[in-house]
């Protein structure tokens, strides 16, 4: 479904992702794990079109999308729930969800019905329906960000650090929702620092270290691989 070939991404002179080749099949949950600053979020931004690709190719459903602007990619079926949630804090929960379906030009009834669907998935958002997004707790904002991304009826959902800054209990809740999305058949590419949790729910995963893919395998394989832990805490193998 999604295929990255030797993708390089850089902020000016700073290369953030080098030579990344990644693929996601229809129906999979794929996780990208790695420490802070490994280039995980940059990679997702590249896929969503928020960052220009320096070299390499990104294709989606066998179409080259490397140079496509972000709003066209959304229409093609790639939705990103961005790092740090980025909800429209000055608009209501309802309006945030409406914006998620912006390009679909739904009728009022269809829109209502789809928002209702999201409320079923995220009951806590229903209670907050007309509140401004800035009044929501961190966990609720994360839910809103995911629901907003789902409103575009994506074929591929990109989740960037959904656990960021959340308390452990809330993180559990968010991950339970990701599991239920997977059961609903949505293809997900998940970027996460909390490797244990991400690997536990992923079909496959890639480990990113300083901008390079260093390991890949099934979630379960990597979950028990001591090298993954080392990538975070530098415990056993010391490269230096």
């Amino acid at each position: 479904m999604l295929n990255l070939k030797n993708v390089h991404l850089a902020y000016g002179p700073i290369t953030a992702v080098r030579d990344a080749s990644i693929e996601v099949q229809q129906g999979e949950v794929v996780a990208i794990v790695g420490g802070n600053g490994a280039g995980k979020s940059t990679l997702l931004k590249g896929i969503a079109g928020l960052m220009p690709v320096d070299s390499g190719q990104i294709s989606f459903e066998n179409n080259d999308i490397t140079r496509m602007p972000p709003h066209v990619r959304v229409a093609r079926g790639i939705a990103l729930s961005p790092e740090g949630r980025q909800v429209f804090s000055d608009q209501s929960v309802y309006d945030n969800l409406t914006l998620g379906a912006y390009f679909r030009r739904l009728s009022k009834e269809a829109l209502e019905a789809e928002i209702e669907e999201q409320f079923k998935l995220f009951p806590r958002l229903r209670e907050r329906r007309s509140q401004l997004a800035e009044t929501l707790s961190g966990g609720e904002q994360q839910m809103l960000a995911i629901a907003r991304a789902l409103m575009s009826k994506p074929k591929l959902l990109l989740l960037d650090e959904p656990s960021l800054g959340l308390a452990p209990k809330i993180i559990q809740e968010i991950f339970a929702i990701i599991v239920s999305l997977r059961k609903a058949g949505i293809t997900i590419l998940l970027v996460e620092q909390m490797a244990n949790m991400a690997l536990a729910i992923a079909d496959r995963a890639y480990v990113l270290e300083t901008g390079r893919v260093t390991m890949t395998g099934t979630g379960q394989q990597l979950l028990h691989d001591p090298k993954v832990r080392a990538a975070y805490l530098g415990v056993t193998h010391t490269a230096a």
């Binding site: 002179p13 700073i14 290369t15 420490g35 656990s163 452990p168 599991v179 949790m197 230096a240």
Partner: protein
């Protein structure tokens, strides 16, 4: 010295040549070139160096012109005294426009300066009982020599002399400590503060310099014409002064000269068609912005470089010191004593709480590491320690000195230096200038000694240059000293920022992710460099995600999560702490 002789000779030749000009119009054109050069030279300090857009210079021109007008006609003050007072008055107005710049930035500030110009314009046009409105003020006393009013030729001579003085003085100022500080404001105010430049003071100073030269120019025009009315003062004048600098070359010492010569001549040629003049000025402004971002000076400079290669590569004096040593300040108190304590720091941004009762104790001569997952509040902590943001509650003490409420540049001057997560170098400046800026707070030459190029300024500059060379050698950057910082490879830029921080001779060095974006080899080299810095007696606190690096070089590790300190101690101890592991890796999901 060669420069001084050169410009004096040039001005003397010009003055001599002018004495052969009989045509009054040509002499007046020459005089107006001098007048506009004065405006442009000051404006260049403000716009080209300090990077502040002032769209209200006409107001300052008016301040000078009307001061001499009123003083000589109403109060019978002598013309020379009035001219001096005019400079002072316009300087005061300069402070006045600078005041909003302390609170607002960007387009709002530009609009405020524009409003200032318009208000003055309205004031002199409508306040006809004082300023004479469109009728103007007549019989302004001209400058005199031995009691006789200046002839037009004498006015030209005087104008040339003023231009010469202005050029020499501003050059003294701009090539050294002050010029660098102004440039740092333009590049990045936050970084400027962090390297010890008192941002607000320097902004006001730049506004005042531009105001005084502009007021002087206004006063000269009023005295030469012996008349001033409100038609002189308009928005187009403000734009013209801006254009002089942009077209000539903003940020270049000779740009204002090129700008005033070329534009005054173009203006004189177009004088017959007044409507065309503004159109051409607007078009030239756009032309300069689009096609000639460095102005005529930049154009000539690049031509010069093409025909005369090798001139630009100034020979670098290699200090052959085998054992490079960092310049450091005398440490108070012995080793292994507490250098900095932070008590119960709290900070909240709306609902986000990046610091909740965080306490910290840093030991002199140690490398401390601050780790934690994204959003744990690490950068916020460094920002609080350096005064970039204020803690809501809590206290920070450097030795016995409470620095909780101190300003950024003040904290730097007291010996706390820092680097930034996303690199805040002064990109267009050379590596050496960047590091010299780090020396800013250590240099003792003040405004006047710099302006007049007194021995103190020269001595301090030489001393700073020596120290900086030592630092560049210590950090192995000497071969890149004359390269502009922004053009270096990323790893080197990181090192330049570190060198710049070292140049303030800090007791404590705060590093926000110094290894971010570095490859493994560069990271290892950085580790060695940090150890060498510590061995020079400098205490380090670093935020870092490269755990290999942290574990290899730290004496003490502090772990933050969720704005709270969850663990601290020796690296091995922290590494095996279950709370730390959970914060980083998360617990496993039972649901899956």
């Amino acid at each position: 010295m060669r420069h001084l002789i050169g410009v004096v000779a040039l001005v003397a030749i010009l003055a001599f040549a002018a004495s052969f000009i009989q045509n009054e119009f040509y002499l007046r054109t020459l005089f107006m070139i001098c007048v506009y050069y004065l405006c442009a030279a000051g404006m260049n300090v403000l716009l080209g160096y300090a990077g502040q857009k002032s769209l209200g210079q006409a107001g300052l021109f008016a301040a000078g012109a009307y001061t001499v007008a009123l003083l000589t006609t109403l109060y019978g003050l002598g013309p020379w005294t009035s001219l001096l007072v005019a400079c002072v008055v316009s300087g005061v107005f300069g402070v006045l426009i600078a005041v909003p710049s302390l609170r607002v930035k960007g387009p709002s500030l530009a609009m405020v300066t524009l409003a200032f110009g318009i208000v003055v314009e309205k004031l002199v046009a409508e306040g006809s009982d004082i300023f004479g409105g469109a009728m103007g003020i007549y019989a302004i006393q001209p400058l005199t020599f031995a009691g006789v009013p200046f002839t037009t030729l004498q006015w030209v001579w005087f104008g040339l002399a003023l231009c010469l003085a202005t050029h020499v003085l501003l050059r003294n100022l701009l090539v050294g400590r002050f010029g660098r500080a102004f440039l740092s404001l333009q590049a990045d105010e936050i970084a400027a503060g962090a390297v010890g430049v008192p941002v607000y003071r320097y902004k006001v100073l730049a506004f005042v310099i531009a105001a005084v030269t502009c007021g002087l120019a206004g006063a000269l025009v009023a005295q030469q014409n012996q008349y001033i009315n409100s038609d002189f003062i308009n928005f187009n004048l403000s734009i013209f002064i801006l254009l002089l600098v942009l077209f000539g070359g903003s940020g270049s010492l000779y740009g204002p000269l090129l700008g005033s010569v070329s534009l005054v001549i173009i203006g004189a040629l177009l004088a017959r068609w007044t409507w065309l003049e503004h159109f051409v000025n607007g078009a030239l402004l756009l032309f300069a912005l689009f096609a000639m971002p460095k102005g005529l000076a930049g154009l000539l400079g690049s031509l010069g470089a093409r025909f005369n290669p090798g001139r630009s590569s100034a020979a670098t004096k290699v200090v052959s010191d085998l054992q490079p040593k960092l310049p450091t300040r005398n440490a108070e108190g012995g080793a292994a004593t507490t250098l900095l304590t932070a008590d119960n720091l709290n900070k909240a941004f709306g609902g986000v709480v990046p610091a909740k009762d965080v306490s910290l104790r840093l030991t002199r001569g140690h490398i401390h590491a601050l780790i934690g997952p994204n959003g744990a509040g690490k950068s916020t902590l460094i920002n609080m320690l350096t005064g970039v943001i204020r803690a809501d509650r809590g206290a920070i003490k450097l030795l016995d000195d409470d620095i909780t409420q101190r300003k950024v540049h003040d904290i730097c001057a007291r010996g706390v230096a820092r680097t930034f997560q996303n690199l805040r170098l002064f990109q267009d400046l050379s590596v050496r200038a960047n590091v010299l800026l780090g020396q800013h707070s250590r240099m003792k030459n003040g405004f006047f000694s710099s302006l007049f190029g007194l021995p103190l300024a020269k001595r301090e500059e030489a001393r700073a240059l020596m120290k900086v060379n030592a630092i560049l050698q210590f950090t192995e950057l000497l071969q890149h000293a004359d390269t502009s910082a922004g053009s270096l490879a990323y790893g080197l830029q990181r090192r330049v920022e570190l060198a710049r921080a070292l140049a303030s001779e800090p007791q404590l060095l705060l590093l926000d992710e110094p290894a971010a974006g570095l490859n493994p080899q560069e990271t290892a080299e950085l580790g060695q460099l940090l150890v060498r810095i510590r061995n020079e007696g400098i205490t380090i606190l670093l935020i870092e995600h490269h755990m290999d690096l942290v574990m290899a070089i730290s004496d003490h590790v502090v772990v933050l999560d969720y704005g709270q300190k969850i663990a601290e101690g020796a690296p091995e101890k922290v590494q095996s702490d279950p709370r730390v592991m959970e914060a980083y890796l998360g617990t496993t999901v039972e649901a899956a």
